[in-house]
Amino acid sequence: MSETPSSQAPAGAGVIASADNLRASAWASRPALDIAAVLARWLLGILFVYMGLSKALHPDQFLKLVRQYDLVSSPLILNSIAAALPWFEVFCGLLLLTGIAVRGAALMLAAMLVPFTLVVLKRALAISGAQGLPFCAVKFDCGCGSGEVLICHKLLENGLLLVLSLWLLAGQGRKLAARFTLIKPRPRESQPETGKP
């Protein structure tokens, strides 16, 4: 009579088996996570290239919109923001698309998204107060590259983009990346020497 493996299994083997199963399923789900991260990287990249180009091709329109936020009074600073920001967005978008310096680019996107969202929110609150409109009914061209938008949609969109940026910043999206890390760690940092007293 042949013995089934389970009949010979020592006590606790079931726990080990289920732990192995968990680990196996975690590894199995890892490719899905990798694919999702790459898609997120491409999505962010495409969006920033598109939004950057739509502003970069009409810098005068973008300049007028930036001016309406009344953030700076110096023409030099105002012009510099309107001239450079769209192309900078395109640059960061291209880095994400190609997978070069992904965490550095994601850091820049997060660093731009937070203040942009705050100034857009501030202006929306001002419009809502001045015109007596419900907050989510406020609609204006925020200079974000997508024309007139409802403020609640814009805030939701920016929130989502920020989450995706932070996800990439945490080290996701390495698959199909040309050079995920621009500054590679020194060998001593990545492979600590062992066997020495």
Binding site: N79, A82, A83, A84, F91, L133
Partner: protein
């Protein structure tokens, strides 16, 4: 963490250099040192839902965007042209002789989409592209009417200030049509499509 910050700094530096370079090479690029808004502060700050013409935040009650613009134009020493005056000037025989000029202060895209027949394009963001043929006409013209979209649109005001301050067009012959192309179209007056004197009219009363 330190490596990410350094990488971010590298991306920021290279990105900024390339961005300014791209702006410099782009034919539509901005001139960093130029003051594109020689007039006072921005007029438009807000827009309501479904409002095709943005409305001003903090605008005095009962004052339309055009009326507010007109008040500001007068305060800046510019003359305001209303519908009646613009219609008279448009039908004035001097219009055909280029002694009365109409200038469209919007960008080329908007100009091509519809402008007052016979109006010259003058996008004040790129005056160098237009002033060559316009300069002798501006010198000989007796009256110059500048317009843009109307409502809160500030392009006509900024263009008029540019013409007065940088091209030395006497303020006495400069008029800003505050109602702009929006009011012109609403009146059912003809709108020309494409380039100047293309002959393609959108509609006429």
């Amino acid at each position: 963490m330190k490596r990410i910050l350094v990488e971010g700094l590298v991306v920021a530096t290279i990105g900024a250099v390339l961005a300014f370079l791209a702006n410099g090479l782009s034919p539509r690029g901005l001139k960093l040192t130029r003051n594109y808004f020689p007039g006072s502060a921005a007029l438009t700050v807000t827009a309501g839902p479904g409002d095709t013409q943005p409305s001003g935040l903090g605008r005095p009650k009962g004052l339309s965007a055009s009326e507010l613009l007109a008040t500001r134009l007068r305060a800046e020493g510019l003359q305001v042209a209303d519908s009646n005056l613009v219609s008279r000037l448009f039908h004035d025989p001097r219009f055909e002789q280029n002694l009365v000029l109409f200038l469209d202060a919007r960008d080329d895209e908007h100009y091509q989409a519809g402008h007052i027949p016979g109006a010259y394009p003058f996008d004040y963001f790129h005056p160098e592209q237009y002033l060559g043929p316009l300069l002798p006409l501006l010198q000989s013209a007796e009256q110059v009417v500048v317009y843009c979209n109307g409502g809160d649109c500030e392009d006509s005001r900024q263009a008029a200030i540019t013409l007065r301050n940088e091209v030395a067009v006497p303020a006495g012959k400069l008029f800003v049509y505050a109602g702009g192309i929006a009011e012109w179209s609403t009146n059912g007056w003809p709108v020309e499509l494409g380039s100047r004197n293309s002959g393609k009219l959108l509609s006429s009363k």
